[in-house]
């Protein structure tokens, strides 16, 4: 008895690993995805390094070193407080990652759950969910973010919530749309005919088969979330100073775009690379996950 159970477990595990392995195999053949993967690895490295940087060393000011350009001593130059930009940017990786991942996770949990429910069940439930989503979506995103940060106060987690909330309806629509395209397929109807419980159908049949657009959206919106966070910072609703969140660095130094261009260029480049990496990886994942590609 117990033996067969164990066997079943082992085979299940094995099967999962092989699926993941297959995806990784697909990914490794995709040059773009690998580039994204490498950039993200560097980002993780930056995050690990940042664990060894003390907050003091990125806030210490020096009036004599204001606005010095990139040099051997300060790789990325210094800002208006004479603070080393390189250290700040490295340290800032944690904020950017937290905002991107946090906000998307926040939005995805709510969005995908309700979106697939709406798409699968249809009828009244769909109407209610979609109207609720419409209400949320019809409030201008950035504005909703501003209001949320204003109400909750300026902090990292509040910024994550503000970005996540405005992303939720997008995921919801996307999840619903892809569920819609899948729900009348033969395999779903077959599963229904067999009498599988609805929840199981959603999570084992509908979601995985409608996953590719959701994956693309999620990974792409990791980047968008980072940009939305930066936009909120730009408008003065970001992480409070002196936290070196990249968007905030750009926002604080945007006035120096011409006199000290490095202050916007480096964090801007980091944001762009990070977003690019997430997008590349998302595209790669999409190709790897696409069931029709697999059929080929």
């Amino acid at each position: 008895m117990s033996n067969t159970k164990a066997n079943a477990l082992v085979s299940k595990k094995f099967k999962k690993r092989s699926q993941a392995g297959e995806i990784f195999h697909h990914l490794s053949k995709n040059k773009g995805a690998m580039a994204g993967f490498i950039i993200l690895s560097l980002l993780v490295l930056a995050f690990l390094i940042s664990l060894f940087i003390s907050m003091d060393s990125i806030t210490a000011m020096n009036a004599r070193m204001r606005f010095t350009g990139p040099s051997g001593q300060h790789w990325f130059g210094t800002d208006g407080f004479g603070r080393d930009l390189f250290l700040r940017v490295i340290y800032g990786s944690r904020y950017t990652l937290a905002i991107g991942l946090g906000a998307v996770t926040f939005g995805a949990i709510f969005g995908i759950t309700f979106g697939s429910l709406a798409g699968y069940y249809g009828g009244k439930l769909e109407e209610i969910i979609m109207r609720a989503s419409d209400v949320l979506a019809s409030i201008p995103g950035i504005l909703l973010g501003m209001v949320i940060v204003t109400v909750l106060g300026q902090s990292l987690q509040n910024l994550i919530i503000a970005v996540g909330v405005q992303a939720t309806p997008i995921y919801l629509r996307m999840a619903r749309a892809s569920t819609l395209t899948v729900r009348n397929h033969e395999f779903v109807e077959a599963a229904r005919a067999v009498g599988l419980p609805h929840f199981r159908i959603i999570f084992t049949q509908v979601l995985p088969n409608g996953l590719s657009p959701i994956i693309v959206t999620l990974t792409a919106s990791l980047g968008i979330a980072i940009i939305v966070g930066a936009s909120l910072s730009f408008l003065g609703f970001g992480v409070p100073v002196p936290a070196p969140e990249w968007g905030a660095i750009i926002a604080d130094n945007r006035a120096y775009a011409r006199s000290a261009p490095w202050l916007m260029s480096f964090p801007g480049f980091f944001i762009m690379s990070t977003v690019l990496a997430f997008n590349l990886l998302g595209d790669g994942l999409r190709d790897a996950l696409d069931p029709k590609l697999k059929m080929r």
């Binding site: 409030i139 950035i142 504005l143 209001v147 936009s231």
Partner: protein, 319 residues
């Protein structure tokens, strides 16, 4: 279909109620009120008390919301707490600016993105495809405010071709902000088009069509595009609603007097009436755009159309 559209219009009512409740109560919860935003050196404690009475701040929030809704039912969006100017007028004066900006951005974006996406999908894996992919990825990755400043530096200052902001130079004023806000849309739509076209290309019916010897151009136009439209329309539709909601950032950078900036200013001034009013109007616009998108949806996707038809037939039979 008409019945469906009517129902969607009726849905506006609960949406307006929900939106107004959410925005109104959030704004009320925010620290500080309109008086704090207007605080000047001349605001004596006595004057402050008088203002508190005038804004009913000495009463519970539900009273203020009730008054607001009472006026709203009569079609009155009220006057701004801060300026005393009519909310409707403030909105309607800026609406054309935002509409013009959004549609220009949309047209620029779609006109460039869809052909690019199709070409990229047709030549999947080629140099062209990779170039389109990279360009559109970079496009998504650039923060809008950074792009806006760069555009101004390049086109207004360096070349001196276009004004850096404002709206008094007609089409010339429009180009930079529209280009700036079309960028992300363009990149998104191109990606969406490409990935959907790719998906459709793999479909059996295309293979059949090709096998029958239908020319590739016709295959793409008739069969592939017909099926790839849906997500593209969804993407563009949602982009449009985002645009209409007012790109606060673009409007700020280019000093474009649109409804996004109006609302953002209202939030920072704790102008509850103006914020709620503008958001209600924006959400109505949003719902209308979504409705149009959904109707288009039905027209391009025969399956969805069939659903609507059968649903109305059923209803008729039941009635």
């Amino acid at each position: 279909m008409i019945r469906y559209i009517l129902i969607r219009f009726l849905w506006l009512i609960p949406i307006i109620i929900c939106v107004s409740l959410i925005v109104f109560s959030l704004m009320e919860l925010a620290p500080g009120n309109a008086i704090d935003a207007m605080l000047s050196e001349d605001l004596t404690p006595e004057a402050r008390q008088e203002l508190i009475r005038r804004f009913n701040l000495d009463r519970p929030m539900i009273y203020r919301y009730g008054v607001y809704m009472f006026n709203l039912v009569q079609g009155d969006l009220g006057v701004s707490d801060v300026t005393g100017l009519s909310v409707w007028r403030e909105f309607i004066v800026r609406l054309p600016n935002t509409l013009v900006l959004s549609f220009t951005a949309l047209i620029i974006g779609a006109a460039i993105a869809i052909p690019l996406g199709i070409i990229a999908a047709m030549k999947a894996g080629s140099l062209v495809d990779n170039a389109v992919t990279v360009v559109s990825l970079v496009g998504v990755s650039i923060p809008v405010f950074w792009l806006g400043l760069l555009l101004i530096l390049a086109f207004s200052l360096h070349f001196g071709w276009l004004p850096s902001g404002g709206y008094e130079h007609g089409i010339r004023s429009l180009l930079l902000p529209a280009l700036c806000s079309s960028f992300a849309l363009m990149a998104n739509a191109a990606r969406q088009t490409r990935s959907n076209m790719l998906e459709v290309f793999k479909a059996d019916y295309l293979r059949t069509a090709r096998a029958k010897g239908v020319p590739e151009r016709v295959v793409i136009r008739k069969h592939a595009l017909g099926n790839a439209w849906i997500p593209i329309i969804t993407a563009i539709g949602s982009s449009l609603s985002v645009q209409l909601a007012g790109s606060v950032v673009v409007e700020s950078v280019f000093a474009w007097p649109g409804i996004g900036r109006l609302a953002a200013d209202a939030v920072t001034a704790r102008d509850v009436t103006l914020t709620t009013g503008v958001v209600i109007m924006t959400s109505i616009l949003y719902v209308l755009v979504q409705l149009i998108v959904d109707v288009l949806y039905a027209f391009v996707d025969p399956r969805v159309k069939a659903q609507y038809l059968s649903a109305s037939k059923k209803r008729r039979r039941a009635a």
